[in-house]
């Protein structure tokens, strides 16, 4: 069981992701934008962060940068949720220190398969 932080401003997406994760036995904390995610992350330990890119307030790329500056998150896998049309977001995410990406739309099965690359 892993502790996972899920960040997305879309309630539907957030619920889908967290439901899938909870259903697979993981412990999930939700946040609806970058600032709230940072707040939730401070002083806590997570095994994985999954974040949307395009969000009001602090976006996903800036969130990744901020998280990498927190010692607890130096090596934590961080996935960004992106879309097919956003090729440059993939590289921006990587430059910011993201571990990898997940292309939207994705099904719960794809999400769970991807987890193997980031969870022990």
């Amino acid at each position: 069981m892993a502790r996972i932080l899920v960040v997305d401003d879309s309630t539907t997406m957030r619920q889908m992701v967290s439901f899938t994760l909870v259903d697979a036995g993981h412990d999930v904390v939700e946040a609806e934008d970058g600032n709230k995610a940072l707040h939730a992350a401070r002083g806590k330990k997570f095994d994985l962060v999954i974040t949307d890119v395009n969000m009001p307030g602090m976006n996903g790329i800036d969130l990744v940068k901020c998280l990498r500056d927190i010692p607890e998150f130096k090596f934590t896998p961080i996935l960004v949720l992106t879309t097919e049309s956003a090729q440059d977001i993939k590289s921006r995410g990587r430059d910011a220190g993201a571990t990898g990406w997940l292309v939207k739309p994705f099904s719960p099965d794809v999400l769970l398969a991807t987890l193997k690359k980031v969870l022990d």
């Binding site: 879309s10 439901f19 697979a24 739309p105 719960p108 193997k116």
Partner: protein, 667 residues
């Protein structure tokens, strides 16, 4: 494993429709921002950029969720809109009127698609193409025909892959642990791994945060090359990777195809999935059916009554028991009150829910009328019962249209009068005591008493020689059949208007009044109780019975004087109230059939639907806030009675239906 996606459908529908409303608001803000920039010097573009990003995000979110849930028609349509909006963001397409109109049409169409999906129909799906073509035309490029990708052919034979993998030294710092990737490969078939440790430094130089290892891997698997490739997708750029396979690589987009098919396969629903699991979800928002909330409100009402009854019973106990019961009763009292407030709070929504739609209405209407109007919304966070908000939308729409149509002058006329060409229409909501006050203000021409007088005379509403003051004019505009519009048009129509609006607001136990300054503008003020379930009432008695008269209808109370009473044959009694004769009703006669004496008791002047009557009661007992219980639902419809309530001491009293009393008295 399979997850039932249908559980997310309702959340998706609700969120998408709300999102589209917000997107519309941002688009309109973008429009007014662009208009300002066009007029003035190109100044602060930050606000516009923010609005544009919000509009983009709106479609983007829907696209992402729709795709994941298998609503392909919505996903595809929003994808095209998003691509067009991206051109705006990049500045390669101009944000002009045609574009704005088209995107607005796309918002409408997306709403249609979402609603159709909710209703499980394919309405509107076919007409998506038309809008997509229009978007393509606007972006001056025909969209590349989207060839339906061929399904991936089944791969049966095993292939052997020889992989050289040297992860980048910074791999760990980005959260990528090469070992996990090897595990993923191992799950795809049989994997042999041979570590290359030649890159390891001397012990003293060893940095545990860096990756020094490399691997030679041999993988035997049925998986297609793309899937093997995909394992390294995140690390390809900073790692050295060489994959040799016994099979040639196929087209790049195969991977995408696979994913789409997965989504489609997941589409069909599994309905037997228990719903309780969803409770584990952590979320800050719940979508609950209205019936459940209403039921909760009812139950709390019952609880309040039970508590009151208990208090009554406690009074009959001996002193020792009362002393023991007292603190418990107080606790119960507090808990019940908190619970009641909390439950009522669930139904409360910010007024912005009602205000939101007016941005579009004002834009479209003023454009059609050739007027320039800026809409200002304030106090949108004031909360009001959801059912009240819904019932308020029609009257508010009417008042807003009325202001656009009759109040606000065309730009040329405004210029002549020395006013700015762009008129300001504002909607403002504010809590006052137990009420909410909504003000609809325009800086237009105001109410012109002469015009009202002319129309009122034509309609036979005033006497031949009666002069109409400004104050009288503000009353006359609420008369049925009066319209000051010079021409009939399809917006406000003629005469069907303010009288109906007032009637609708009175039906919510509210009031509608108007303040105007000729030439400067008009303000309509709606006052409403915060919830339909609780009203302010005056407790009155008639014989041994008590009744509640809703405070909103009471104009004044008078002591009766024999000299003011006039009897008219066949028409009953009239009372002279400062020069106007109002019909007299005796509460005792209505409720028990036996009349009292005129000199006794008190007279209440009541007004409903613009008409006044005098009601004679025995005494006023005081003002009370009462919870309305429907008599119809619990008993049956009773003439002149709007409902019942239970007083603090547990007594049931009836609430008078003033509007029907007034109608009866005038007939």
């Amino acid at each position: 494993m399979t997850i039932d996606l249908t559980r997310f459908h309702e959340s998706f529908f609700t969120e998408s429709l709300e999102g589209l409303d917000a997107t519309e608001t941002h688009l309109l803000a973008l429009e007014s921002g662009e208009a300002r920039r066009g007029r003035e010097a190109p100044g602060d573009s930050e606000g516009s950029e923010e609005s544009l990003n919000a509009v983009f995000r709106g479609f983007h979110s829907i696209k992402g969720a729709a795709g994941s849930l298998g609503f392909d028609a919505i996903a595809q349509f929003t994808h095209h809109v998003e691509e067009f909006l991206d051109l705006w963001r990049k500045g390669t397409a101009a944000v002009d009127r045609t574009g704005l109109d088209t995107v607005l049409a796309c918002i409408d169409h997306a709403r249609l698609l979402v609603r159709a999906a909710r209703e499980n129909t394919t309405e509107g799906v076919e007409s998506s193409a038309k809008l997509i073509r229009k978007l393509a035309k606007l972006s001056r490029a025909r969209p590349a025909p989207r060839a339906e990708p061929a399904p991936a052919e089944p791969v049966a034979a095993k292939a052997t892959y020889k992989i050289q993998f040297r992860p980048g030294p910074e791999s760990f710092r980005r959260g990528n642990d090469p070992l996990r990737l090897l595990k993923v490969l191992a799950e795809m078939g049989t994997l042999e791994a041979e570590a290359d440790v030649t890159g390891l430094p001397e012990t003293g130089e060893f940095d545990p945060e860096r990756c020094y290892l490399a691997w030679r891997l041999t993988l035997v698997t049925e998986a297609p090359p793309e899937q093997v490739d995909d394992v390294f997708a995140w690390v390809r750029d900073e790692s050295e990777i060489a994959i040799e396979s016994s099979r040639p690589k196929s087209r790049d987009d195969r991977r995408r195809v696979d994913r789409r098919q997965l989504v489609r396969r997941l589409g069909p629903r599994r309905s037997e999935e228990p719903a309780e699991v969803a409770e584990e979800l952590r979320t800050d928002r719940l979508h609950v059916s209205r019936d459940k909330v209403d039921e909760l409100v009812n139950q709390v009402g019952e609880l309040v009554i039970t508590k009151t009854m208990m208090k009554q019973v406690a009074l009959s106990l001996d002193a020792a028991s009362v002393a023991r019961l007292e603190p418990v009763m107080q606790q119960l009292e507090r808990n019940t009150r908190d619970l009641q407030e909390g439950v009522m709070g669930i139904r409360m929504l910010p007024m912005s829910h009602a205000f939101g739609r007016f941005a579009r209405l004002v834009r479209d209407t003023s454009q059609r009328l050739g007027k320039e109007v800026r809409l200002e919304l304030t106090g949108g966070d004031s909360e009001l019962d959801k059912s009240m908000i819904e019932k308020l939308v029609d009257p508010l729409t009417h008042l807003v249209r009325n202001a656009l149509d009759h109040g606000i002058e065309p730009p040329a006329e405004r210029r002549d009068r020395g006013k700015p060409e762009t008129a300001v229409l504002s909607l403002h909501a504010q809590h006052r005591g137990g009420n909410i006050e909504i003000r609809v203000t325009d800086d237009g021409r105001g109410i012109d008493p002469e015009r009202v007088e002319r129309r009122a005379r034509e309609a036979g509403l005033i006497r031949e020689n009666e002069a109409v003051t400004l104050e009288r004019a503000t009353e006359l505009i609420f008369e049925p059949g009066l319209s000051t519009a010079e021409e009939v048009n399809d917006l406000s129509g003629r005469g069907v208007g303010l009288d109906v609006v007032r009637k609708n607001i009175m039906a919510l136990n509210g009031s509608l009044s108007v303040e105007t300054r000729p030439g400067r503008g008009t303000t309509f003020v709606i006052r409403l109780p915060l919830t339909l379930a609780i009203i302010d009432g005056m407790l009155v008695t008639s014989g041994t019975d008590a009744y509640i008269v809703p405070l909103a209808y009471i104009i004044e109370c008078l002591h009766p004087e024999r000299s003011k009473l006039k009897s008219i044959a066949g028409r009953g009694m009239l009372v002279d109230v400062r020069g106007s004769y109002l019909p007299l009703l005796e509460l005792a006669r209505i409720t028990s059939g036996s009349g009292g004496t005129y000199e006794e008791g008190l007279l209440m002047v009541l007004e409903a639907e613009g008409n006044r009557i005098v009601l004679q009661v025995d005494a006023l007992l005081g003002q009370e806030q009462v919870v309305i219980k429907s008599l119809e639902a619990n008993y049956r419809k009773v003439a002149y009675i709007a409902g019942a309530t239970i007083l603090g001491e547990g007594r049931v009293v009836l609430i008078l239906d003033v509007a029907s009393l007034v109608r009866a008295a005038r007939e």
